[in-house]
């Protein structure tokens, strides 16, 4: 039985929804009342750290968890290019509405209008807040904030701090968190991994976590739980994500009743360093901002093995500029990624491998000089040279698409509440704002909007209205969930097989990349589901693990996460199979236009899928949230 989900979007005109909602919401009075409420926040990235710091600042009693040894290392630290905001400082016609419009269009009309509008509205406050906290954004000589542009838009609205924007924004969050830790409102639990969610009377009331150094399994109770645990790109094994990024918290919550939405919407980023060998542990991103000055091309002739500098101008195909004259090299990521695949599939690629194209700066260096180009992208060029041994100042970079960001995630309503009462989901871990494709520089924006501004409001409103009975960690439900967690570990350590975690993960990654990657089709997806099931069996029968559960044991941590990727990978393939259309990052080969562009089916698929777990070995059930666009004209997405 599929049910239709209610997103609880407030009434009234789009531009007033959030303000009105805040006025309508219940509040918790400051002082003792707020202190009495305890909130668990899992994650210390922009979303989690921002939420924990802000809730602490408001006076709530906050427990904040992360896997890393310190909150300052959450994966958000790795974001390079920048963060969007509708400030219109450049006077190039930007506005809240335009940012809203670009984001909805960028997401191929598969995101929720009201959420995206709120995001665009809050974007301006994020910049103000970060500046006030001492985030050293790039500035012009006159002292004003500098901007650049990113893929999929025609205005300059991206704020940046060299190529380290995520690092600087996260350090801002970490500093706010540090202030609250000093004040005693936030208690920090680094090197703690959430392994399961505890539900009492249908409400999220706590978590079970493992202290990663000692292996100790611990119970924590609270009045509400916020998950801000990031995305699941490492399902592909090779991705641009940090090695410790994982899906476990979200997946375990899913198995306890939180619906998982749009799992097949994964973003393949067009500009990563191509894969080099089968020992590789991750792919390195080269920021999208490079496409502001870099021109993408391949040799016109298939199988051309000459070095790039030997290929004359007239034998190069600047295929993005040719196919998309209006946006050129700045088309959105899904389009640029797929276009690279199309060229490489025809045998037109960089000399280095069948899966690489050129990103060339020679024209920009000629026009602007080496110094200016170095000032803009120097650290990325250095990073590239470190990896490949080549200098982009002298020869074009080689790039290829790589799994990067996941638009899918746990289903949430407008209040970021999941289908489990009292369980809120923020940042990349939820599904709501980016639809089928995320434009550049908008994940940082969503992380901070959720963390600094949305979560604190919606959680307060929940707590003010919730009827919560007293629970302790001795409550039966806590014991039962802890037992589940313990037996899961026993099971893993008792397999005593012969295949390493990496070995099995690598195989999963290949299946996902080949069949559930940049392009999918029905046969391939069915094949993937079958193969993943086999791999799940191999995992539970033949996994090799050493060490014990009561010690620091990275292999065990990774094995625990891999078990979840194997299940999530299967759901991603199912979701992709169900979605008989192409949109954004989801490209079904059966559904394309004559010129190879994605062909949506708005009539039948203008909805969010939301999968409900049915128990081990059972097929999940899909529910729908219908999307309606009242403030925007739904069009065929064109960047020509």
């Amino acid at each position: 039985m599929s049910k239709i989900l209610d997103a609880k979007i407030p009434g009234g005109p789009l531009a007033d929804k959030w303000d009105k909602h805040m006025i309508d919401n219940k509040l918790v009075a400051p002082g003792g009342n707020r202190r009495k409420f305890r909130i668990i926040v899992v994650g210390t990235g922009l979303a989690g750290g921002g939420a924990a710091a802000t809730l602490g600042e408001l006076g709530y009693n906050v427990l904040n968890f992360c896997i890393q040894d310190t909150p300052r290392r959450a994966h958000s630290v790795a974001a390079q290019g920048g963060i969007n905001a509708a400030k219109n400082y450049q006077n190039d016609g930007d506005s809240v509405y335009r940012l809203f419009y670009d984001t909805i269009k960028g997401g191929d009309y598969r995101s929720r209008e009201a959420n995206v509008y709120r995001l665009a509205q809050l974007s301006t406050h994020i910049i103000d807040q970060s500046v006030a906290m001492g985030v050293p954004f790039a500035r012009e000589y006159g002292g004003t904030l500098a901007n650049r542009s990113f893929g999929g838009v025609q205005v300059s609205r991206t704020f940046y701090a060299r190529g380290q924007t995520g690092q600087q924004l996260l350090l801002g969050v970490y500093s706010a968190l540090s202030r609250q830790i000093d004040a005693g409102t936030v208690k920090m639990f680094p090197r703690h991994e959430m392994l399961d969610l505890v539900i009492v009377d249908g409400k999220a009331r706590g978590i079970i976590a493992r202290e990663l150094i000692t292996g100790e399994i611990k119970r924590y109770e609270a009045d509400a739980v916020v998950l801000a645990t990031g995305g699941y790109s490492p399902v592909f094994y090779l991705s641009t994500n940090a090695v410790n990024s994982n899906a476990t918290a979200a997946w375990r919550a899913h198995k306890r009743g939180a619906f998982f939405s749009n799992p097949c919407y994964t973003q393949i980023h067009p500009t990563a360093v191509p894969q080099m060998g089968d020992y590789q542990s991750k792919l390195t991103l080269m920021s999208e901002s490079l496409r502001n000055d870099g021109r993408v091309w391949v040799p016109k002739k298939a199988g051309d093995t000459r070095r790039p500098n030997e290929i004359p101008e007239n034998e190069r195909d600047y295929y993005l500029e040719r196919r998309y004259p209006a946006f050129g090299n700045l088309v959105p990521r899904d389009i640029a990624s797929r276009a690279a695949k199309v060229e490489c599939d025809q045998g037109k690629h960089a000399y280095y491998s069948d899966f690489s194209v050129y990103l060339d700066f020679s024209e920009a260096i000629g026009r602007l000089g080496k110094d200016v180009v170095g000032d803009r992208y120097g650290n990325l060029f250095d990073m590239y040279r470190e990896i490949t041994g080549d200098s982009p100042y002298e020869t074009p970079m080689m790039i290829y698409p790589a799994p990067h960001y996941t638009m899918g995630g746990l289903w949430v309503d407008y209040n970021l509440q999941s289908t489990i009462e009292g369980l809120f989901v923020a940042g990349e871990a939820n599904f709501s704002d980016h639809g089928a494709n995320r434009l550049g520089a908008s994940a940082l924006m969503q992380g901070l909007a959720d963390g600094y501004f949305v979560v604190p409001r919606v959680v307060a409103s929940y707590l003010a209205g919730a009827d919560l009975k007293a629970v302790t960690t001795e409550t039966e439900e806590f014991k039962a969930v802890e037992n589940d967690v313990r037996s899961h570990y026993d099971r893993l350590l008792n397999i005593k097989g012969s295949r390493t975690v990496r070995d099995i993960h690598w195989d999963l990654g290949r299946i996902m990349w080949d069949k559930v990657g940049m392009a999918r089709n029905k046969d391939g997806l069915n094949e993937a589901i079958g193969k993943i099931k086999e791999l799940q069996k191999a995992f539970w029968q033949d996994l090799a693990l050493t060490g014990s559960a009561d010690d620091l044991n990275k292999q065990l941590e990774q094995a625990n996460r891999l078990g979840d990727y194997l299940e999530l990978g299967e759901l991603m393939a199912r979701d992709a199979l169900m979605r008989e259309e192409s949109c954004g990052g989801h490209f079904r080969e059966e559904h394309q236009s004559e010129t190879g562009e994605a062909k949506r089916d708005d009539e039948n698929f203008m909805f969010v899928s939301a999968w409900e777990h049915q128990g081990e070995g059972q097929e999940p059930v899909m529910h729908k949230e219908d999307l309606s666009y009242e403030n925007i004209e739904v069009k065929t997405r064109s960047y020509k």
Partner: protein, 247 residues
């Protein structure tokens, strides 16, 4: 190529450890140093031996998680680069590499190459921030900041908190790390009101964590993967002296 390794192994909670010898075959030039260790760990697990623990995460040189002493140098002998950024092309077939954890009394060893750097968080909590509540900020352009000041603040803010500076310093001082944070704010108008309190409290906490004093060896600057300048330490001293004077 074939690489020989001498790696420090220490059980959790043990007072001491020792070097073990390992060999990794078929190391490719493009491999990163940590990928080479991954391959070694694969071999160990297949043989039923416990994998070597080392902290790592982004593997792009930005998160500051990884860090080990490679051939006597924190983050290895390749300047301006974290351990995860080292590529095996900087080694030759048959080389022997020594790998040990960051050693400093304020960074206790947890297991193998993993150390506890939480002292940095406690220092940060004493004032490495601007006390401004969310939602009350003025427009971002309300206060103009000259590009050169913003650039200087950014230079200091680039610190990744890896702790190499501490491991490299003969005194085990955390001065480069602490000074980078204090300097960042000293270049900005934001947080000026707390300048005195920040300098006093952060320096006090640094001392009480058991880090040594700085006696201008400059080793920290030499190993810093982000090439943070030792000039920051001079700035920190000025900030501290001014603060102490004010009271």
């Amino acid at each position: 190529m074939t690489i020989h390794l001498k790696i420090w192994r220490q059980a959790r909670g043990a007072k001491d450890g020792k070097f073990h010898d390992y060999t990794v075959e078929n190391v490719a030039a493009e491999m990163s140093f940590l990928e080479m260790l991954d391959i070694l760990n694969e071999q160990l697990v297949k043989k039923g031996e416990e994998a070597i623990e080392f902290d790592n995460d982004c593997r792009e040189g930005i998160c500051g998680t990884c860090g080990m002493v490679v051939d006597g140098v924190a983050h290895g002998t390749h300047a301006g680069c974290t351990t995860c950024e080292i590529r095996m092309r900087s080694y030759k077939d048959g080389d022997t590499i020594t790998v040990e954890p960051f050693r400093a009394s304020a960074f206790p060893i947890i297991k193998d190459l993993v150390v506890d750097r939480s002292a940095f968080d406690r220092i940060q909590a004493k004032g490495g921030y601007v006390s401004t509540n969310v939602g009350s900020a003025p427009d971002g352009n309300a206060q103009l900041i000259p590009k050169s000041d913003a650039d200087n603040a950014m230079d200091a803010a680039t610190c990744i908190g890896c702790g190499a500076c501490v491991a490299a310093c003969p005194n085990g001082s955390a001065s480069l790390f602490v000074s980078a944070k204090i300097s960042q704010f000293s270049w900005l108008p934001q947080g000026d009101a707390e300048r005195t309190r920040r300098a006093l409290r952060m320096v006090e906490q640094m001392d009480s964590e058991g880090f040594g004093d700085c006696s201008n060896h400059g080793e920290c600057e030499a190993v810093c993967p982000k090439e943070i300048s030792i000039q920051n330490i001079a700035r920190m001293r000025r900030e501290f002296v001014k603060a102490a004077f004010k009271g």
